[in-house]
């Protein structure tokens, strides 16, 4: 569905953010694009959406060249950026005005998602709402568009704690085997139990691109109270109940993926983890 092939991209000609970066994304997955601030997450999403053009390489989305921004591609892809623009419309008008651009838009789903997010008064002007409320409206609209591809840049920023939980719930309910979701965030806890494939971006390079199953096959996450052999440990975090550690899963023991621990492990021990995943 999304193919990036050997792309070079930079905001200046001398400094490349991405160099020969390739990535393929398939339908039926919820991809979590993780990375530190400034790692290039937003730029990568914009390249996928056709809002930024790589200097070299090609970006294909649904069989269309992304930079062309063809109406067929845009009608089947929704990009919810971090800085949301809200038109001077009432909540109910948003669907009336923009639904016509999206062939699979479902009015009843839009209202259903708004109800889920506890947005009741649909006669309010969107631009007068709080940031969190605006986000809820735009997430509801994005999901109701029923596009094959949904790209979200930091969607949970500005959402309160109950809304983050509702977000995970509605996203899980909207996902199916024909759709592809890409969600970028630097708050990895927000995507816990939602994403099935993790892409970690660091310094313009994809360090890890693996499913949660693959991660737990290769790495072992555990909480230990006793001291451990530090040679075996890829990453360790102290907490009140002992230590949380990540080790190589040589014995193929099942463990539960701790996304934040995994992300920190990758940041701390990038070279070794790359070797494990490329083996």
């Amino acid at each position: 569905m999304i193919t990036l092939h050997n792309i070079d991209f930079g905001y200046t000609k001398k400094q490349h953010l991405f160099k020969e970066l390739s990535l393929e994304m398939q339908k039926g997955h919820i991809y979590g694009l993780l990375g530190k601030n400034g790692s290039g997450k937003t730029s990568l999403l914009k390249i996928m959406a056709g809002l930024r053009f790589p200097q070299q390489g090609s970006t294909e989305v649904l069989g269309y060249r992304a930079a062309f921004r063809s109406p067929e591609m845009l009608g089947n892809m929704y990009f919810l950026s971090e800085e949301i623009f809200t038109p001077t419309l009432k909540i109910k008008q948003l669907a009336q005005v923009y639904a016509s651009f999206y062939p699979h838009f479902k009015q009843e789903e839009y209202h259903h998602y708004l109800e889920e997010f506890d947005v009741k008064d649909k006669n309010l002007y969107i631009h007068k709402l709080s940031h969190g409320q605006k986000k809820k409206v735009m997430i509801s609209f994005a999901l109701a568009c029923n596009t094959d591809i949904l790209i979200m840049d930091e969607p949970t920023n500005g959402l309160d704690i109950p809304s983050k939980s509702i977000f995970r719930k509605v996203m899980a309910s909207a996902a199916n085997e024909d759709r592809l979701f890409v969600i970028s965030t630097h708050q990895v806890r927000d995507l816990h139990s939602l994403i099935d494939t993790v892409i970690i971006l660091d310094n313009g390079e994809i360090v890890v691109n693996a499913t949660d199953q693959c991660i737990t096959e290769k790495l072992y996450f555990q909480a230990v109270e006793d001291k451990v052999d530090e040679k075996e440990v890829l990453y360790m975090e102290e907490n009140l109940r002992g230590n949380l550690i990540v080790t190589e899963n040589k014995q193929q023991i099942d463990s539960h993926l701790d996304l934040e621990l995994f992300f920190n492990a990758v940041m701390a021990n990038k070279k070794r983890i790359k070797e494990i995943f490329n083996a």
């Binding site: 914009k46 959406a49 056709g50 809002l51 930024r52 053009f53 090609s58 060249r65 930079a67 062309f68 921004r69 063809s70 109406p71 067929e72 845009l74 009608g75 929704y78 990009f79 950026s81 800085e83 949301i84 623009f85 038109p87 001077t88 419309l89 008008q93 009336q96 005005v97 923009y98 016509s100 651009f101 999206y102």
Partner: protein, 239 residues
């Protein structure tokens, strides 16, 4: 691998209708207020003095110069560029809005203001007897010149991200300044061979019925040229 931008030929009247519908629902109040301001100006000012017509022209040019104003801000630009319509359709919609819709909308308010003045203030003023002062402005050649100016402003509004109207006017002024300098320079360098040119110019000025054919063709060609430039600039806009 294609590394150059090819012209996108997709054109759907339904999508243009959706784009227009979107514009009208989002902006009808703003346009109405601007129209009412013009109506008040037309009502209170003497139409023969031409102030209301001047305001009318300025309003159209300001609107045209900011027709792609939503590209100035990151969030609104992203929103606009991600609307599922082709670059062709977005450009045609905005050309229609700036060149036809807004011109007609403001004309209605201008004429209404003048008529209201004529009806209400007729016993008090002697300037309200007719609207014939509008006639000299409306000629095909002058409209084409206006169209050319509008197409330059449309291009400026896509080209410059911030303060597009002012920057376009400054660029135009700079262009004509350098053009004038160049002409003066050429004339000074070729004083001897300028006699025939001066005679032709003199004939052109004295001719009571000058031909507008060539200027009209030039206006049409350059108008199309700036529309095409706007298309490519919009197509290549990144956010």
């Amino acid at each position: 691998m294609l590394n150059f931008i090819i012209m996108d030929t997709s054109l759907s009247l339904t999508r243009i209708k959706h784009l227009l519908n979107r514009y009208f629902i989002e902006n009808w109040k703003k346009d109405l207020y601007v129209g009412l301001v013009l109506l008040v100006i037309a009502f209170v000012s003497n139409p023969i003095a031409g102030f209301s017509s001047f305001v009318y022209i300025v309003m159209i040019l300001l609107y045209t110069g900011r027709i792609f104003g939503n590209l100035a801000h990151k969030a609104s630009a992203q929103h606009y560029l991600m609307i599922p319509a082709s670059t062709n359709e977005k450009l045609i919609t905005n050309i229609f809005l700036s060149h036809i819709y807004y011109v007609l909308l403001l004309s209605v308010f201008l004429v209404l203001g003048i008529l209201l003045r004529a009806l209400i203030l007729a016993p008090l003023c002697d300037d309200t007897s007719s609207c014939t002062f509008l006639i000299p402005y409306i000629s095909f050649a002058s409209y084409l010149s206006f169209l050319l100016f509008q197409s330059i402003l449309v291009f400026g509004s896509v080209y410059f991200k911030k303060n597009a109207f002012i920057k376009t006017l400054l660029s135009l002024s700079a262009f004509f300044f350098f053009l004038t300098m160049l002409v003066i320079f050429i004339i000074r360098m070729n004083v001897g061979s300028m006699t025939r040119l001066a005679e032709e110019f003199d004939y052109y000025v004295r001719n009571p019925y000058p031909s507008y054919l060539i200027p009209s063709i030039i206006s049409i060609v350059f108008t199309c040229f700036f529309w095409i430039l706007s298309y490519f600039r919009l197509r290549e806009t990144e956010v």
